[in-house]
C-alpha cells in the first residue's frame, strides 16, 4: 500500500456522540451491585489512636466496613517503591488518604455508615511545602546529578551571569471521568475488574497483591477511559484495589466511582517544583554554563517520582546545547497526596526552567528572545550532544525555526507589538516563541516493550488485542489503521478489542507517549506472523492450480482486500475467501506479536547513555493581549509547527497537539492548586480550580504538522505525539511575561511564576511599577 496518510474519524466517534460509548460507570450489572465508598483522612499527618466500626457495620444495607486489618493480602499499593499502604494502618500521612472502606446497597447508606465510624486521631506536625521539607531534610531517595563540562570554571569565564528561582505549580489531571472501577466476583477466588486504568497489568498485580491471590485469578479489562493524562497510570490502581477488597469481602459486584471533589482531594497531581538556576553567557547570548537545581514536591509516597524527576533533568536542556551544564535534582517528601504522572512527566518543569533562563538572557541583553533561542539550538553536525551524551539525530529545530518565523510573521508582529505597547498605557501585548525537543521512550528502559494478539476469523474479520489502553488519544484508531494497512484490507474488517490482561499479559503502562510506537509495532509483528502463514498456505493453493510456475510464498502481497501473487497478479483470492481455506488446511489464524525498542540504554547512576529512541520536535509562537488593570489576558494567536514524522492519522495528531497545548495553557495560566495551612486542598472543586474553557483557546489557532521524511525505525515512519505539544504552552506563559515586562519597557526583570494567574500578573505589575517609580525618583 502507498505510504499516504489517512484521517479516518475516531473508531468510537459515533458511539461518543450518541452516548452509546460505555465507560466503567455505564456497564450494566445485575441488581446485586453494591456501591463502595472510601473514608479518608482529614489530617495531613496524624496517628490513628483508635477506631470503632461496629455502629457503622450495623446500618441496614451496609455489607462491609473494612479497615487495614481486613486486607487478606499485602497492605500495599506502591507501584515501584513499596511505601504506599492500601489503607492507612497506624498513621495517616496526607489529607485524603484512604483509611476505611464501605460497601452498601445505596450511596446514602454508605454515607450514614461513614458518619458512624469513630476514629481518634492524634495530629502530628506536617510538612506542607518544599522549603520546609528541605530544612527538615525530608528527602525521598537520594540527590541526582547529570553533568557535563566544568560549570564553575565556565561561570568564571562568562561575560555575564544571571541567577534566580522559579516556582512551577501543581496541576490536577481533571480527566472528565473520575477514577472508577467495577469488580465482579467469579468462581473460587477469581475476580474481574473493569477499571479506568492506563496500566491494566499493574492494576492486576496490585489487586492480586492486596487480595493475597495469584495473578492468574485476576482479569483486568479496560474498554476506554474518559481521559487519563497520567492520572490513571498508577493511581487508578488505588480505586481498583479498594473495589476489589470490597468485592472480596461481600462476594458481590461492587463499584466505586469517586465524586469529583473526592477525586481531587485524594489523588496526586503534577509535581510542583522549586527550581534554582544560574547561567553564564556571552554578549551574544550563547549559554556557556548553566546550573539547574530541580526540587520536586513528591508528596507522601514515592509513586513515580524518581522517573518524573529524571525526565525533568533530561529535559532541562530543552532544545539548547549547553557546553557546561549541571543539572541536579531532589524529591522532597511532604504530607500531601503522592504526586504522580501527568502529561509531560517532569518534562514541562525541566523545560520551564531553561526557558526561563533563555528568556532572562534575552531581556538582560535587550535582544529578541526568539533570536537568542535559535542561537542556542542544538546543531545538526556539531554542538549536537545532550548533557547526558545522547546525540540529537535528525534535528529539525533549525529548519522548523526558519519555517515558523516566516509562517507566523514573527518579525512583523514583534514590531507591531512594540508599537502597540508604546501607545497603550493600560493594555500590553506580548509575543513569544518556544521550541520543544522531547525524548521518546520510557527512561526505565525495560518498560519499552509491548505485546499483541491478533485473531482472524473465518469470515475474514480481524480482532486486534494489544496491551495499550484507549483514553482518548486515538490509540485504538491508529492500531486499527496499522492492522488494516498490514493486511491490505479496509478498516471495516478490523476491530480493536477492549484491553484485557487475559489476552495480552505483562504489559507496560500506556504512557510516555509510546502507546502507538510500541503497540503498533507489536501488532505489526503479530500480523507479520499471520501473513507469512497465510502466504505459505495460499502459495500452496496457487501452486496447486498452476503446477508449471509455482507461486512463491515470499512474493505474496496483501493489498486491496486480496491476497495476490506479486509475480502473477491474476492469481488472487479475496482476503475473506482465503480464511476458510486456512481453517481447512489446519493453519492457525491467531498469533501474538511482541516488540521491544532496540538500541536504547541508560545508565542512571552515571547519568549517561541513550535513554531515548528518538526525539520529537515542535515549536510555537503565541501572542497575548493583557489588561493591566484586571490581570486578564487574551490569547490572540498561536502558530504551532509540530513534527510527527509521517503521521498515521493527521487529524488525530493535530487533535493531540491542540489538546496537549491547551492543557498546558491551563497549567501555565489559570490552574492553581492551593493547600491551606493544615494541608487541606482549598481548590478541591471545579468551582475554584479552573481548567481552560472554550474562551481560553487562541482566537486564531494555526496548527500544522511538519512535512518531513518518515521517522526511521518506528511504526510506519510516525512519531509519538501525546506529550510533546504540552511544553509548547510555555510560549503563552512567556508571552504573558513579555507583556508584563513591557510595563517597565523591558528594562526590568518581572517577578514571575507559573501559573501566571491574574494574581501573579497583577502583583508583578505592581512591583514593576513601584520599582520604576523608585528608579525615576533616584
Amino acid at each position: 500500500m502507498s505510504n499516504q496518510s489517512y484521517s479516518e474519524t475516531n473508531e468510537s466517534a459515533d458511539l461518543h456522540v450518541t452516548g452509546e460509548a460505555v465507560y466503567v460507570d455505564d456497564i450494566p450489572v445485575g441488581g446485586q451491585l453494591l456501591t463502595g465508598r472510601v473514608v479518608i483522612s482529614p489530617y495531613a499527618h496524624a496517628k490513628i489512636v483508635s477506631f470503632d466500626l461496629r455502629d457503622a457495620r450495623r446500618i441496614p444495607g451496609v455489607h462491609a466496613v473494612l479497615a487495614h486489618a481486613d486486607i487478606p493480602g499485602d497492605n500495599q499499593m506502591g507501584p515501584v517503591v513499596k511505601d504506599e499502604p492500601c489503607l492507612a494502618a497506624d498513621e495517616v500521612t496526607f489529607c485524603g488518604q484512604a483509611v476505611f472502606l464501605i460497601a452498601a446497597e445505596t450511596e446514602q447508606q454508605c454515607r450514614e455508615a461513614e458518619r458512624l465510624i469513630q476514629v481518634a486521631y492524634e495530629p502530628l506536625d506536617a510538612i506542607l511545602d518544599i522549603e520546609t521539607a528541605m530544612s527538615n531534610d525530608s528527602l525521598m531517595g537520594s540527590h541526582r546529578r547529570i553533568e557535563r563540562g566544568d560549570v564553575e570554571a565556565a561561570f568564571a569565564a562568562s561575560d555575564h551571569i544571571i541567577e534566580g528561582e522559579l516556582r512551577t505549580g501543581a496541576q490536577e489531571h481533571w480527566y472528565l471521568e473520575t477514577q472508577a472501577c467495577l469488580c465482579v466476583p467469579g468462581e473460587r477466588d477469581e475476580i474481574t475488574a473493569y477499571s479506568s486504568t492506563q496500566h491494566p497489568s499493574e492494576t492486576q498485580a496490585l489487586i492480586a497483591g492486596v487480595l493475597g491471590i495469584r495473578r492468574n485469578s485476576v482479569v483486568v479489562e479496560v474498554r476506554r477511559m474518559g481521559g487519563g493524562f497520567g492520572g490513571k497510570e498508577t493511581q487508578a490502581n488505588h480505586t481498583a484495589c479498594w473495589t476489589a477488597l470490597l468485592c472480596r469481602a461481600t462476594r458481590r459486584p461492587v463499584k466505586i466511582r469517586l465524586f469529583r471533589d473526592d477525586d481531587m482531594i485524594m489523588t496526586g497531581k503534577r509535581h510542583r517544583f522549586l527550581t534554582r538556576y544560574k547561567a553564564g553567557f556571552t554578549g551574544n547570548g550563547i549559554l556557556e554554563a548553566v546550573r539547574i537545581e530541580l526540587n520536586a514536591d513528591g508528596g507522601a509516597a514515592t509513586d513515580l517520582s524518581f522517573a518524573i524527576l529524571e525526565r525533568a533533568m533530561l529535559h532541562a536542556d530543552n532544545s539548547y546545547y549547553i557546553a557546561n551544564f549541571s543539572v541536579t535534582g531532589a524529591i522532597w517528601k511532604t504530607n500531601l497526596p503522592p504526586n504522580t504522572a501527568m502529561r509531560g512527566f517532569g518534562g514541562p518543569q525541566g523545560t520551564a526552567a531553561i526557558e526561563t533562563v533563555v528568556d532572562r538572557v534575552a531581556r538582560f541583553l535587550r535582544k529578541d528572545p526568539a533570536e537568542i533561542r535559535s542561537r542556542n539550538f542544538y546543531g545538526t553536525i556539531s554542538r549536537n550532544t545532550t548533557h547526558y551524551g545522547q546525540t540529537v539525530e535528525n534535528n529539525r529545530l533549525p529548519e522548523m525555526y526558519n519555517q515558523l518565523i516566516r509562517s507566523s510573521d514573527y518579525r512583523e508582529r514583534r514590531i507591531a507589538v512594540d508599537e502597540f505597547n508604546a501607545t497603550h498605557e493600560f493594555y500590553k501585548k506580548g509575543l513569544a516563541l518556544t521550541p520543544v525537543k522531547f525524548g521518546i521512550s520510557f527512561t526505565t528502559s525495560f518498560l519499552n516493550q509491548a505485546g499483541a494478539l491478533v485473531n482472524i476469523y473465518t469470515d475474514g474479520t480481524i480482532l486486534v488485542n494489544h496491551g495499550g489502553t484507549e483514553m482518548g488519544q486515538g490509540l485504538h484508531s491508529k492500531i486499527r489503521h496499522i492492522a488494516a494497512r498490514e493486511f491490505g484490507v479496509s478498516l471495516k474488517r478490523v476491530k480493536v478489542s477492549a484491553t484485557n490482561t487475559s489476552k495480552v499479559p505483562n504489559t507496560s503502562a500506556t504512557a510516555a507517549s509510546t502507546g502507538s510506537d510500541l503497540n503498533g509495532m507489536a501488532v505489526r509483528n503479530a500480523a507479520a506472523t499471520l501473513k507469512s502463514r497465510i502466504a505459505e498456505t495460499i502459495a500452496e493453493v496457487f501452486s496447486e492450480e498452476n503446477r508449471s510456475s509455482p507461486t512463491f510464498a515470499s512474493h505474496i502481497v496483501f493489498e486491496d482486500e486480496s491476497i495476490i501473487d506479486g509475480d502473477h497478479p491474476e492469481r488472487r483470492i479475496a482476503f475473506a475467501d482465503a480464511m476458510p481455506i486456512m481453517q481447512h488446511r489446519q493453519v492457525s489464524l491467531s498469533a501474538t506479536g511482541y516488540y521491544r525498542t532496540p538500541d536504547i540504554g541508560w545508565d542512571r547512576e552515571k547519568g549517561r547513555g541513550k535513554p531515548f529512541h528518538y526525539y520529537a520536535f515542535g515549536m510555537a509562537v503565541s501572542e497575548v493581549l493583557l489588561d493591566l488593570l484586571t490581570g486578564r489576558h487574551k490569547l490572540l494567536r498561536t502558530d504551532i509547527l509540530h513534527d510527527t514524522g509521517t503521521s498515521i492519522n493527521p487529524a488525530i495528531d493535530i487533535g493531540q497537539v491542540e489538546g496537549g497545548f491547551i492543557q498546558g495553557v491551563g497549567w501555565c495560566t489559570t490552574e492553581e492548586i492551593k493547600w491551606d495551612e493544615n494541608g487541606r486542598l482549598m481548590t478541591h472543586s471545579p468551582d475554584t480550580y479552573k481548567i481552560p474553557t472554550v474562551g481560553d483557546i487562541p482566537q486564531d489557532f494555526r496548527v500544522s504538522l511538519l512535512r518531513t521524511d518518515p521517522n526511521p525505525g518506528t511504526i510506519h515512519g510516525s512519531k509519538a505525539v501525546g506529550e510533546p505539544p504540552f511544553m509548547l504552552s510555555l510560549s503563552v506563559w512567556l508571552a504573558i511575561k513579555d507583556a508584563v515586562s513591557a510595563v517597565a519597557g523591558h528594562e526590568l526583570e518581572p517577578e514571575f511564576s507559573l501559573p501566571a494567574t491574574y494574581e501573579v500578573i497583577l502583583l508583578s505589575i505592581e512591583k514593576l511599577k513601584a520599582k520604576t517609580l523608585k528608579e525615576a525618583s533616584l
Binding site: V17, G19, L176, R260, D627, G659, K690, V694, Y758, E759
Partner: protein, 488 residues
C-alpha cells in the same frame, strides 16, 4: 394537588410517582434519574455541580407564539419536579428515526470533535440547543454556547468547527416536524399544583403565586427554590436532606418582565437568559454582567430571586443592581413592600427578608440620559467562574465634568455587597480626572477589608478594586473597557 409529575421522554409522556416506596425523591436530580434508567446512560456526571456540562440535557417547553423553546441545562442541578410539563431531550434522542446521526452529531464525528468522548454527550446537547436557537452563529455566540462545557482532551478547536458546520444549514430536523405533536402532548399534562411527599422531603410546586405565599406563610422554614442552581448543590455536594421545599419555578407571575416609561420590573423567577434580551438596550451594564454569569446552562435556570435569596457577597448581579438604584419587591400573604437594594442586605448572607416573604421582583428605574453605569467582573477565568471582585458603578457629571453623584458598589470586598462610601464622598463635587481618581483609588484600599481564599489573596483583591475605579474612569474617557474591545 397532584402527587406525581409528568413530562415527555423518548417521545412518550412519562409519569414519576413519589412516596415512601419510590426510589426517587423530589430532590433527586434529573442526572441521577436518567442514569438510573438502563437506556439513558449517555448522560454523564463529570462534577455534579454545574461546572463541567457533561450532564447537559435540553428541556423543551411551550414558549411564546406556539413554538417550542429549547434550553440547555445541567441535569445535575435540576430537581425532578422541574421537568413537569416539559420535554426532556437527551443525547440518545437525537438520532433520526431512520438511524442517521443528527446534523450536530454528524459534524462532531466528521470534524474529530471527540477524543475520550466523556464530555461529548454534553457537548452534543449544548450544540443541539445552539442549533435550535441560533442559525449561523458567530464565534462569540458559539463560545458562549460551550462556556459551560469542559473538555479536557480536544482543546475545543474542532468543537467550534463542528458548531459552525452544523449550524450553517438552518435548523430543520425531526424535532421541527414533531413540534405540534409534542406541544399537544405537553399541553395535555394538567397545569396542576404539585404536592410531592417522600420519606424525607415534602416538596410543593405551587401553580399560582397566591398559593406560594400561603405555603410560605404556613411553612416559614420551607426552603424556596426558583432556579435551583444554588440550592441543588446542598443536595449534590453537601448531601443535605431538604425537609420542606417550596419550588417557585412554575409561577408564570414571577417570570414577567414589564416595562413602563419609568422602570422595568423583572420577575424574580425569570431565568436570566430570558432577562438578557429585554434589558440589553436600557441597561447595557447589567447585560454585560449577565453575559459572564455562569454559563448558558446556568442562566437558563438561575434567577434574580435566587441571586438575592443567596445574598452572597460575590453574587454577580448585585453590585450593578445596586448601582442602578434597584428596588427589591418582597411579598407575603399580607402584601408587598419595596426595599432599596442597598438596604436589603444586613450582613453575611443575611437580609431584611422575613421568613414568610419571598422576593417577587426587582424594579430598575430607567436611567437618566447622563447617567453613566458600568459593571466589571474579575475572575480567574473569564467563562463560568464566580467573581473574585466585581464592581457596579454609576456616575453623573455636571457640565464642568465634576462629580454630581456616584455609586461605587463592590462584590467580594466585604461580607456583603459593599458601597465604597468614603470614596464616593471624597469624589462628590470633585473634578472627574486622573488625579482625583488616583487619589480616590488609594482610599478604596483602605476602606475595604477583603479576605484571602482559594480564589485570591486579600492583597490582590485590594489592587483589583482600586484598578476597577481607574478602569471606570478610563471608560468615561472613551478608552477600551476590556481586551475584547481592544481586539476590535
Amino acid at each position: 394537588m397532584a402527587s406525581t409529575i409528568s413530562f415527555l421522554l423518548d417521545g412518550r409522556t412519562t409519569t414519576v410517582e413519589f412516596g415512601h416506596s419510590s426510589i426517587y425523591s423530589p430532590t433527586t436530580t434529573v442526572l441521577n434519574y436518567l442514569r438510573s434508567l438502563p437506556e439513558h446512560k449517555g448522560v454523564k456526571e463529570g462534577c455534579g455541580q454545574g461546572d463541567c456540562g457533561a450532564c447537559t440535557v435540553v428541556l423543551a417547553e411551550a414558549g411564546p407564539a406556539g413554538r417550542l423553546l429549547y434550553r440547555s441545562v445541567d441535569s445535575c442541578l435540576v430537581f425532578l419536579p422541574m421537568l413537569h410539563r416539559k420535554q426532556l431531550i437527551t443525547v440518545e434522542n437525537l438520532r433520526h428515526p431512520n438511524g442517521d446521526l443528527h446534523p450536530v452529531q454528524r459534524a462532531l464525528v466528521d470534524l474529530h470533535g471527540s477524543q475520550c468522548g466523556f464530555c461529548t454527550p454534553g457537548i452534543v446537547m449544548s450544540l443541539f440547543a445552539l442549533y435550535k436557537n441560533h442559525p449561523r452563529p458567530d464565534r462569540t455566540t458559539i463560545e458562549d454556547a460551550f462556556a459551560g462545557n469542559l473538555c479536557r482532551c480536544t482543546g475545543y478547536q474542532p468543537i467550534i468547527a463542528a458548531a459552525q458546520r452544523a449550524c450553517a444549514e438552518g435548523n430543520a430536523d425531526q424535532f421541527n416536524k414533531g413540534e405540534e405533536a409534542t406541544l399537544a402532548l405537553l399541553n395535555s399534562i394538567p397545569r396542576d399544583s404539585l404536592r410531592l411527599e417522600s420519606a424525607e422531603t415534602m416538596y410543593y410546586r405551587p401553580a399560582a403565586l397566591s398559593e406560594a405565599l400561603a405555603l410560605k406563610a404556613n411553612h416559614p422554614a420551607g426552603i424556596v427554590v426558583t432556579g435551583g442552581t444554588d440550592i441543588a448543590l446542598r443536595v449534590t455536594k453537601n448531601h443535605d436532606v431538604l425537609p420542606e421545599v417550596i419550588d417557585l419555578s412554575a409561577l408564570d407571575e414571577m417570570k414577567l418582565i414589564a416595562e413602563d416609561a419609568f422602570s422595568i420590573s423583572i420577575g424574580a423567577g425569570a431565568p436570566l437568559n430570558d432577562v438578557m434580551p429585554r434589558i440589553h438596550d436600557v441597561f447595557p451594564s447589567l447585560h454585560r454582567m449577565l453575559s459572564v454569569f455562569g454559563s448558558q446552562q446556568i442562566r437558563n435556570m438561575a434567577t434574580f430571586g435566587g441571586n438575592l435569596g443567596t445574598a452572597s457577597p460575590i453574587g454577580d448581579a448585585l453590585p450593578v443592581l445596586v448601582a442602578l438604584g434597584t428596588t427589591v419587591e418582597l411579598s407575603s400573604i399580607t402584601g408587598s413592600r419595596r426595599v432599596p437594594m442597598q438596604h436589603y442586605f444586613t450582613g453575611y448572607r443575611t437580609t431584611v427578608r422575613r421568613p414568610d416573604e419571598i422576593v417577587t421582583a426587582v424594579i430598575l428605574p430607567k436611567p437618566a440620559s447622563n447617567l453613566i453605569t458600568r459593571s466589571y467582573k474579575i475572575s480567574k477565568r473569564r467563562e463560568l467562574d464566580i467573581s473574585t471582585v466585581s464592581g457596579g458603578f454609576s456616575l453623573r457629571l455636571n457640565e464642568r465634568r465634576e462629580v454630581e453623584s456616584i455609586v461605587l458598589a463592590f462584590g467580594g470586598m466585604a461580607d456583603r455587597v459593599k458601597r465604597a462610601e468614603t470614596v464616593e464622598n471624597f469624589l462628590a463635587g470633585r473634578k472627574w480626572n486622573r488625579e482625583t481618581v488616583d487619589e480616590a483609588s488609594s482610599l478604596i484600599e483602605r476602606e475595604c477589608n477583603p479576605i484571602s481564599d482559594a480564589r485570591a489573596s486579600a492583597e490582590m483583591r485590594r489592587i483589583a478594586a482600586r484598578n476597577l475605579l481607574l478602569k471606570f474612569w478610563c471608560e468615561t474617557e472613551g478608552l477600551e473597557a476590556d481586551v475584547e474591545s481592544v481586539v476590535q
